[in-house]
Symmetry: C2
Subunit: 337 residues, 2 copies
């Protein structure tokens, strides 16, 4: 068996975020579904970019944000995702490697551009995302390496991978390889609209290969078509080894068999932008989990990591997250490089 | 005479900033002059980018930041600067236009890339800048249009233009056209190292065509080789119609003939990144000046605009600056579009 020298290998869409402020009137005028991630084609992406205010570019992608956060906590991470041969691709590759994440997926050969997500942040700090997947459509099972998956305690998959058709096959292959190597498979449901698009298959995944499930309140309600959080919680019982359900300011709920924990949100200053809060929650949780911490400790680390990105524009940490952990809270010795 | 429908036309280097956090040890290991803007070639820019941490991309350029700030206050601005035919060029063009600034300079034809400035922000919020000028080296007098200059009350020039050799001729042409049209010429000294490189010529400009001068404490001391701020202030007297000298937390000093004002810095929260504070000070000042405000009011608007960018990463405002002006402080009716 290969060395298990990584905590998490993540597979996701490799995206550069283009962030701007906008008001509700702009969202309405453009017909954007507030708070959701919507897929758009190249022509729509260009038109929307022309209408967008001054922007900031920063590497994103849900799973990639999680791995950057995990590395910032001191964990060891690898990422698999498809870039184009272009300047945004160079930006993404630079940023994920500079964050300390292993990344070696070959770029797309078709000339498709690196995926862009136009993020509109409203004054209530909500983010509305419009994604052109571009090169991400080319991620396929050939990009999944058994050696890499075998090296990681957890293989982490984003629900958004169910949108590009070939990535679904990559996802299934990675999950099978992880289990064959005796590792765990984690999934985030990503977005309630994404759950609506793929509900039947997501239910099969949750009943089948997924060991660790992440979802927010809207997503878990969408999965079970539940009327409220408690109904969704009851429907979730008995599925997966661990389920982490996030509830914004209400904190999170962790389920594992008969064990249930309610974890408070970590204190935040002014909330500037909620982009990435769920991604960073998963980072903190998986950092604790891979380090063998108790569920409760995993949840507390997750809350601290999520709180950091709420305080600034963008979905990747600006502060080394390891510095934010109180003494004794799951802090590990840095891995030898 | 053409309509005077612009407050300010600015001429400067068109740059995309690549911002990252770094510590003093990194600056020392890389041999970077802390707090300064240093010019680097393409190979050095690539090597330094490889060594840089995860970054954020945002449009920059000193004069361009000033015009974006002026537009954010509700002023009318135009910009002249040279981009490459590439993704970073598209980002810059999008952002300056989305800020409401007129921009129509044709891009470089040589294939040179859009200028990049690698900005290293240390924990003390100081920025250390390493700039590869790329396409900016092609800005020349042919890019200066008499009609555009004649439309603006003030032609604003950045001292950094003295670095690329052909831009110097563009600068002189713009100043001559502005005066021929009965307009004012403003200059920022940009950077103390830039002043060291061009001291004799900068002294001639200050004694000659410059009506409005902006400098910080280090720059004005470098210009006159003065031992302290008071000595530099005395050396400045008698030059230019208006001189605005910024002193960080100590506020600013405005000189106009026998008139002298000491303006307090505006209150700030935590100072995150000083990139752009001088650029936004000039934005606020020129907004007031073009609106016919008193020197004291110009200085107070300048201080408010500068304070906004100190509170976040990057050199362009994240909040509409017009919303930050107290009632009665130089606020103008929006221009008809």
């Amino acid at each position: 068996m290969a060395d298990m020298d990584l905590d998490v290998v993540g597979i996701g869409n490799a995206i550069v975020d283009v962030l701007s402020h906008a008001d509700d009137r702009f969202l309405a005028a453009q017909g954007l579904a507030k708070g959701a991630m919507t897929l758009i084609d190249a022509a729509r992406a260009d038109a929307l970019y022309r209408a967008m205010g001054p922007a900031v570019e920063v590497s994103g992608g849900s799973a990639a944000n999680t791995l950057a956060g995990l590395a910032s906590l001191g964990g060891r991470a690898g990422f698999v995702g498809k870039l184009g041969h272009d300047a945004f691709g160079e930006v993404f590759r630079h940023d994920i490697r500079a964050a300390g994440v292993d990344f070696a997926t070959p770029p797309a050969t078709s000339g498709a551009p690196t995926a862009r997500c136009l993020v509109f942040v409203t004054p209530d700090a909500q983010r509305t995302m419009q994604t052109h997947l571009g090169a991400c459509l080319e991620l396929g099972p050939e990009d999944i390496d058994a050696g890499l998956v075998g090296r990681a305690r957890v293989t982490y998959l984003e629900g958004y991978l169910w949108d590009p058709p070939r990535a679904k096959a990559a996802f299934r292959k990675a999950a099978a390889l992880a289990h064959a190597a005796g590792r765990k498979v984690a999934l985030t449901l990503s977005d309630s609209f994404c759950v609506e698009r793929h509900r039947a298959e997501f239910r099969e995944l949750v009943a089948g290969p997924v060991d660790i499930l992440f979802a927010n309140e809207a997503e878990i309600c969408a999965l079970w078509q539940a009327a409220d959080f408690d109904a969704a919680l009851q429907a979730t019982r008995g599925h997966c080894e661990v389920v982490a359900l996030t509830r914004s300011a209400k904190g999170s709920v962790l389920l594992a068999g008969d064990e249930l924990h309610v974890i408070d949100a970590a204190p935040t200053g002014q909330i500037v932008d909620t982009t990435g809060a769920g991604d960073l929650y998963a980072a903190g949780f998986l950092y604790g989990y891979a380090g063998g911490q108790s569920l409760r400790t995993c949840g507390r680390i997750a809350a601290i990591a999520a709180a950091e990105v709420l305080g600034h524009f963008g979905a990747r940490p600006e502060t080394p997250l390891a510095d934010l952990l109180p003494a004794g809270l799951g802090r590990r010795r840095p891995h030898p490089m």
